[in-house]
């Protein structure tokens, strides 16, 4: 194509189109850049920092940074892997992630990233913060214990469902997902068919009464690491 440009990721030249982000170009070329808050159906916000790569030597979130011709990107260096591990580690200790009884286990993107990175135990002290469960909605549950503040639910509700059910509120350690209802999720316009109910990467926003329907062995990341589908398309 006439408008195609060339970038380099970890020494490998790949073709890209100027309107793509680094993440999109990498995906198309079969190079997996780990990510958590990013989702192909949602506008990227560069919030979780998992997809940070070195772009001409400077750290950039691959999900928001557009490609430029000749860009040199480092994705799988030891330093970047360590940075990503640190982020995942912090997410584990700042929430209450009890994988052993979580219905998302096996299909959870946070867990899958930790598996991919070979994390055996977090290096930071566990906070065991006090968090709430909002089960007021008849069909959807919000378990703040498992929230990683990716804001996918916020964006999905606005961008895909044409609603405004969720919102990020607070600052710093107090930051959490709030709902635009009088009291709780049950008072909002949320419906079980909303995309916002299915794009949560972890077990925070889940549809009720479907937990554990998929047997162990057939869950998303039981057999192959997260990102394998992208790498599988590598030519």
């Amino acid at each position: 194509m006439s408008d195609s440009i060339t970038i380099t990721i970890d020494g490998k030249e790949i073709e890209a189109r100027p309107e793509q982000t680094i993440l999109e170009a990498a995906d198309a070329a079969g190079v997996y850049i780990p990510r958590l808050c990013s989702h192909p159906d949602l506008k990227p916000i560069g919030s979780c920092r998992v997809c940070v790569v070195l772009c001409d030597g400077r750290p950039q979130a691959a999900c928001v940074k557009p490609v430029m011709d000749g860009m040199v990107i480092e994705n799988e260096t030891p330093a970047i892997l360590q940075h990503r591990k640190n982020i995942i580690d912090m997410m584990f200790v700042e929430g209450n992630h009890f994988c052993m009884f979580c219905e998302k286990s096996g299909s959870c993107e946070l867990q899958a990233l930790a598996y991919r990175f070979g994390i055996t135990a977090p290096q930071y002290p566990f906070q065991f913060p006090e968090k709430e469960i909002d089960a007021s909605h008849p069909d959807v549950m919000l378990d703040h214990n498992r929230c990683v503040m990716c804001a996918r639910c916020v964006r999905a509700s606005q961008e895909l469902d044409g609603k405004n059910v969720f919102q990020s509120i607070g600052r710093g350690f107090e930051r959490k997902i709030g709902v635009n209802g009088e009291r709780a999720l049950g008072d909002t316009e949320m419906e079980a068919t909303d995309r916002a109910a299915e794009l949560c990467p972890v077990g925070c926003v889940v549809k009720k009464r479907v937990g554990f329907a998929t047997p162990i062995g057939r869950r998303d990341y039981d057999a192959a690491p997260i990102g394998s589908n992208i790498e599988g398309e590598r030519s």
């Binding site: 009720k208 554990f212 162990i216």
Partner: protein, 476 residues
């Protein structure tokens, strides 16, 4: 001579954390002997607020030895919460297969890995040899049998629950997978060998009991009531049934009680010296209402067993006591091996049932707010009781685990053995092991019991009346 205290800690070759204290009076006679359960978890409280469909997966972590029991008892309770009184045939049979697989592995584990060293080497054998590794060295064929039987049960659990320990197969209203015909064929290949080994194990337990009957009759034994689930026709049924309680002589205290009403019949006393509560039959009160559960109680309470080889073995067992309930503590081992054979027969029966390959896995019903699930776990009747609010969150959980039911009996057994063997005697490791042998007969799962789990290891300390340690024997 002054008052002495003996402490056995940790109690070993049982599952869970416990210790025994024995007080000797001035003349060296045992004045008190207690089994203390030293762990506490708090499941009843921290499960509150969790959504009900998580409970079967969460609560099985009470115990890694019989997680399937908790998984299924909770799933049965949650069937009630989703208004399902009758599962699909495939779901019910998959769950039963899972349960018999667990009964099989648990009984094999207890007999071969934990208890056989006492029976094969004797209570006084060198403690560094008196363990499963010693068995593997001296009796390799038997050790391999034990390992392969446990493995068979564990593989059945994995095929039905997804994992050998802490799986997810049972969900409220059904199961999440069936058994493929390929999986079934693998199990069928080995079932005859398993049954042959069951018969051999049963013979070891029976012969041991009969050869030592005079000693065992007075080894931590006592008369007691017995409780278990039985089927409507009085048959032993380890997965489902109604509650029956009998006296030491076999007379009914209550019978065919719908277990949704269990709390009208059973209460639990709290004592300051144990994290494990002390259940009793309410109408008889704490003094007289305590009872035994588990293999011995089940053989005593049921009218018959619906598999031929186990039924013949049951009749054989009861002939020792002229058809009356057997109250010998050490007869638990024999009873347990009858159940091992029964479980093997049941597994064979189920594997030959094509319903296991069915696709109709889930049933539906009207939501309810409260439900009770009971099951006969390897160690006895297991009670799970939940209330769930309109938001699907658990508001109340009450659990009476199998081993808790045997709390008073285990304490009686400890006291009986202590009085008989330790009074006025020089304390030896072998004598202390006898105390543990009596506890082991109940196959206690003290993790379960405290809604905890772990090892139950033994140190004996002698203290004078002033509390100063004057002697200490550590079992190592």
């Amino acid at each position: 001579m002054s008052v002495k205290k003996i402490t056995i800690e940790p109690v070993t070759r049982v599952e869970g954390h416990g210790k025994v204290t024995i007080l000797l009076d001035e003349s060296g006679q045992v004045s008190q002997a207690r089994l203390h359960i030293v762990e506490f978890r708090g499941f009843e409280r921290f499960i509150q607020g969790r959504p009900y469909w998580e409970v079967p997966v969460l609560v099985q972590r009470l115990c890694g030895i019989c997680p399937v029991s908790h998984h299924l008892a909770a799933a049965k309770a949650m069937d009630g919460i989703v208004g399902v009184d009758q599962l699909t045939p495939t779901a019910e049979k998959i769950r039963r297969l899972m349960h018999y697989g667990q009964m099989f592995q648990s009984h094999a584990l207890h007999f071969f890995h934990l208890v056989s060293p006492d029976l094969l080497f004797g209570f006084d054998a060198d403690p560094t040899e008196r363990n499963v590794i010693g068995v593997a060295r001296k009796f390799p064929d038997l050790a391999v049998q034990g390992v392969m039987m446990r493995k068979y049960g564990q593989e059945i659990i994995k095929a039905t629950a997804g994992k050998k320990i802490h799986g997810t197969g049972a969900v409220p209203g059904g199961v999440n997978k069936n058994l493929s015909s390929a999986e079934r064929d693998e199990f069928l290949k080995e079932i005859d060998q398993m049954l042959a080994w069951c018969r051999g194990s049963l013979k070891i337990a029976k012969d041991y009991t009969l050869e030592h009957i005079d000693e065992l009759a007075d080894f931590g034994s006592f008369d007691s009531n017995h409780v278990s689930l039985v089927r409507e026709d009085g048959a032993m049924d380890l997965y489902h049934g109604n509650l029956r309680a009998i006296t030491k002589d076999g007379d009914n205290i209550f019978d065919q009680v719908d277990y949704q009403d269990y709390f009208k019949y059973i209460a639990e006393e709290v004592k300051s010296w144990s994290y494990m509560k002390f259940p009793f039959i309410s109408e008889l009160g704490p003094e007289n209402g305590w009872y035994r559960v588990g293999p011995l109680a089940r053989i005593n309470t049921c009218d018959f067993i619906d598999t031929p080889e186990a039924e013949a073995a049951r009749k054989d067992f009861l002939s020792v006591t002229d058809g009356k309930p057997n109250n010998i503590t050490m007869a638990y081992h024999w009873a347990r091996m009858i159940e091992l054979l029964h479980s093997g027969e049941k597994i064979r029966e189920l594997l030959n049932d094509s319903d296991l390959q069915g696709d109709d896995l889930m049933a539906k019903g009207e939501r309810r707010g409260e439900s009770v699930g009971l099951i006969e776990a390897p160690r006895g009747t297991l009670f799970h009781h939940y209330k769930v609010d309109e938001n699907d969150q658990v508001t109340m959980a009450n659990l009476i685990v199998s081993t808790t039911n045997n709390n008073t009996p285990m304490n009686r057994a400890v006291e009986g053995v202590a009085r008989k063997y330790l009074s006025g005697a020089e304390i030896t490791e072998g004598l202390l092991n006898r105390v543990e042998v009596a506890i082991r007969a109940y196959d206690p799962c003290l993790s379960c019991a405290t809604h905890a789990m772990g090892r139950m290891p033994l140190v004996v300390e002698l203290e004078n009346a002033a509390g100063q340690r004057i002697d200490r024997r550590v079992r190592d």
